[in-house]
């Protein structure tokens, strides 16, 4: 392991952070083409110690992004393909009786990885989904009365097909907000798609790349993110946004205090990624849609059916202080 086991004692050079972040972004950009903003947001999500939900149609590179993140950040990686017959034990693991020493031995499931890709999480039954979500929340799993700590850092990147597709169990609102961000990738631009077609296979590229940073450095980056300066006027702005979501007739349920904490954490991480000296209003605006979008419920009478439009409406209605 590295020198200095606890983070507080490791002297961390800001320039080192800068370099590390730029390298990670550059490396991810070579694999996921033309999605620089989404890459920044995904990185910010992990730096804010948040879990990421990627929601889009199949084939838009959700899995590739998750794999690339694990690879570039040097994290151990497991993929769980969620299906309708997936059981909680398939995620967490099982205790198996060992003939040899007459005891139960815990066989860890795929959740015991630093970055877990929960692919097509809405295809599994609510039971399996909650096993995953509990693990995300607690950072540990309990099997047969024994508590097993999950590795650190621990991230879940879940992907989900938009819920209007057949045979899915969309995550309920209460569980959606376990995810710090919900990203949509969207179609690539024509140039990027051309580069994708003419370029080499993404899977082979993934196996070729090396980790850019070590997990310890990642944790240092996470600490740096929480230490980003946040000014009074910016807190005012966040509060004004939150208040607006609670008072607007277009929104049925506004942001919860957990929602405001998520906004601040994500904005700080984004400020770190963007190399801002403090959290700027732009950081809040940049993460607002992905952080608040899945936490807001439009009112039935609202003209804004789509969470993205709703979030834009909120941002366009609240003055920056």
């Amino acid at each position: 392991m590295q020198r200095g086991s606890t983070l507080g004692q490791v002297p961390i050079e800001t320039t080192g952070h800068r370099e590390a972040i730029d390298n990670v972004r550059r490396m991810l950009g070579t694999i996921i083409l033309g999605k620089d903003d989404e890459i920044s947001l995904a990185l910010a999500c992990l730096l804010a110690r948040g879990h990421l939900l990627i929601e889009d149609l199949p084939g838009l590179g959700k899995t590739t992004l998750a794999q690339a993140l694990a690879k570039v950040l040097g994290l151990s990686y497991q993929r769980i393909q969620f299906t309708s017959d997936l059981l909680p034990a398939d995620i967490i693991g099982v205790s198996i009786f060992q003939q040899r020493d007459g005891q139960f031995e815990f066989k860890p499931g795929p959740i015991f990885a630093q970055l877990v890709l929960a692919d097509e999480v809405n295809r599994a039954t609510p039971k399996a989904q909650s096993a995953l979500l509990e693990a995300m929340e607690e950072q540990q799993v309990s099997v047969d009365g024994h508590t097993h700590m999950l590795p650190r850092p621990f991230f879940v990147v879940a992907t989900q097909n938009p819920s209007d597709q057949i045979g899915t169990f969309p995550l309920p609102e209460s569980q959606l907000d376990r995810f710090l961000m919900r990203l949509e990738l969207g179609y690539p631009s024509e140039d990027c798609e051309r580069a994708l077609i003419t370029g080499s296979d993404r899977r082979s590229m993934l196996s070729d790349i090396d980790a850019v940073i070590q997990p310890v450095q990642l944790e240092a980056l996470q600490t740096a993110a929480t230490n980003i300066h946040i000014s009074e006027p910016l807190i005012d702005y966040v509060q004004a946004l939150v208040r607006f979501t609670r008072e607007s007739p277009d929104i049925e349920t506004g942001l919860s205090p957990r929602g405001s904490l998520a906004l601040v954490a994500a904005a700080k991480a984004r400020a770190l990624v963007e190399d801002h000296s403090g959290v700027f209003p732009d950081d809040v605006q940049a993460i607002f849609t992905v952080v608040a979008g899945h936490r807001l419920k439009p009112a039935s009478i609202s003209a804004y059916r789509n969470p993205n439009e709703l979030c834009r409406h909120v941002l366009n209605s609240v003055a920056i202080s």
Binding site: P233, P249, G278, L315, S321
Partner: protein, 656 residues
Amino acid sequence: MAKRSGTDGSLLHSLPWTLAALTFSMLPHIPFLPVWITVAYLGCAAGRLQIERKRWRLPAAWIRMLLALICFIGVLVSYDAISGVGPGSALLSVMAALKLLETRQRRDQFVLLFISIFLMMSALLREQYLWSLPYLLIALLLTLTAWLQMSTSRGAGARQAMRNSARLLLYAVPLMLTMWVFFPRISNPFWAVPVDTSSSISGLSDQMSPGDISSLSLSNAVAFRVRFDDVIPEPRQRYWRGLILHRFNGRTWSGSEPTIIARDDRPVEYFGDPVSYQVTMEPTRQHWVFALDIPYQWSLPKTIIGQQLELMRTQPIDQRTTYSAVSYPRFKLNADLRDYSRRFHLRLPEGSNPQTVKLARDMRAAAASDEDFVDAVLRKFHEEEYFYTLKPPALGRNSIDEFLFRTRQGFCEHYASAFAVMMRAAGIPSRVVLGYQGGEINPMGNYMIVRQSDAHAWTEVWMQGKGWSRVDPTAAVAPERIDAGMSAAMFGAAGASWGLVAPSEFLHRMRLTWDAINETWNDWVLGYGPENQNAFMEWLGMEKPDWQKMMLTGLALLVALITVISVLLVMRYGQPAKDKAAVLYRQFTEAAGIDPYLGESPIAFAGRLGKLDRSVHDAASEVTERYLAARYGPPSASGMLKLQQSVQRFLREKRS
């Protein structure tokens, strides 16, 4: 032509509120409105709600026109008039009912809510009781809530809307108080609304027949309230003199008109210590102003003193009126009586009540003097079988004869009438006085209540050397009535023997307490007229207050208050105080030539600005960068300095 499309249910959440507000404002009018209007309103309200619920169509324009015409004619027929409080509120109610039938969008409900406010105002024209204030405040709160409900698209926030309306009302309170205190009061404002004369008021009328006053004796209604400055006279001295009647037709006394009596010289001399007091009269729609005996001074404009020294106002008292007066307990009235006057006060109708006339002449012949004769008659009432009762038997044409010789039961008017006739028959000038006798001290407010049941009739006889003096024959028959007063006698055995039914003591005390509270309200709020206002202004230090000064002061105060309230509101809801970086950045955006959009971030703004004007692109980016660092980054003195420099550079570049 109105579009004929079905309703879309969008009013479902605001319409019930509007209806509630409207109904609440209409409620005080309903007892006074013809029943068909209430029915029409309820029908329209229920119908409109159902239309919205079922997404039906609204009635066609021609149906609404027809209904409007019918209702207008209905009001005209019901009231025979179109102006005044009654027809006015009826028209408002009908308009509200019909407007419901063409309320298509949210904003159509504005009209309904305006009508609701008008209805509240007209309720105040009708009556201003103490409880009207909280009631109308609730109605106002409801109307404001309906207003807010209508203005937001969400129905769920009713409690929030109510809280907001309460807050709005609270902001308005200082403004309201200022206007109330300073708006110049005029004694007869041009905006005074003609009083609804259709409803009847009980009280003394300008003539007296047997049975007139006894019919009042059961009325608990207040005639007037009196506050004495220091001494409160004994009950037997409390004769509130009102009308003087001198013409008798054998049954009815009349002739209160002041002008027909010849002027007598030096009518009155006053003795003893004066009694000063304030009277607050309830409206009577009559001209009579009541004072204790003979008033010496009084403070009521447009009031004259008649030849018999009774007070009269040149216009009827149709609202609560307060005046102060000074009376002397002893006086000598018309020590000399001219022949004309003397003859006038001796007239009796030819041939009526022959027995009484004969009896009087016999008794006078038997008496040594006029005084002895008066005593003899009073003794007769006292010692013979005469009864004082609230329910005297009916009398015919020769009422005095029938009363004196047959029925022998009467109320004060019977005794006063009989006594005056006997005096006249015996050659002593006499007349009947109508007024109130007694009054009850309200221990809760330390003032006196004189009720309609205290109405009384007595006589005045003229004797050489003494002038007109008061003789009350009722005192000879029922001394308790005079010594204790009607209200006190009510609880005694005497009252029961007259036919009075006493309420429970507790109820009576409650009534007195309520009256005291109301009296305070009347004194302090409703009684704030021109005089009180002038006095209050002088107390505030305004010299010679007139309406211009009050108006100016009121306006100045209003402006000041609105400023203070606005500042408070801005402090509460407005932008927080800007720090230095924000001030500098504001200079930059103002110089930039374009304004940032609401919610536009500094970086986005700089981008937009740079795209519009390439030449300032770099300078704008620099300002933005430094502003963000200075304002949102970790605090540093140099950051602010750098921002200042770059803003100044931007301003310079922009100028050149």
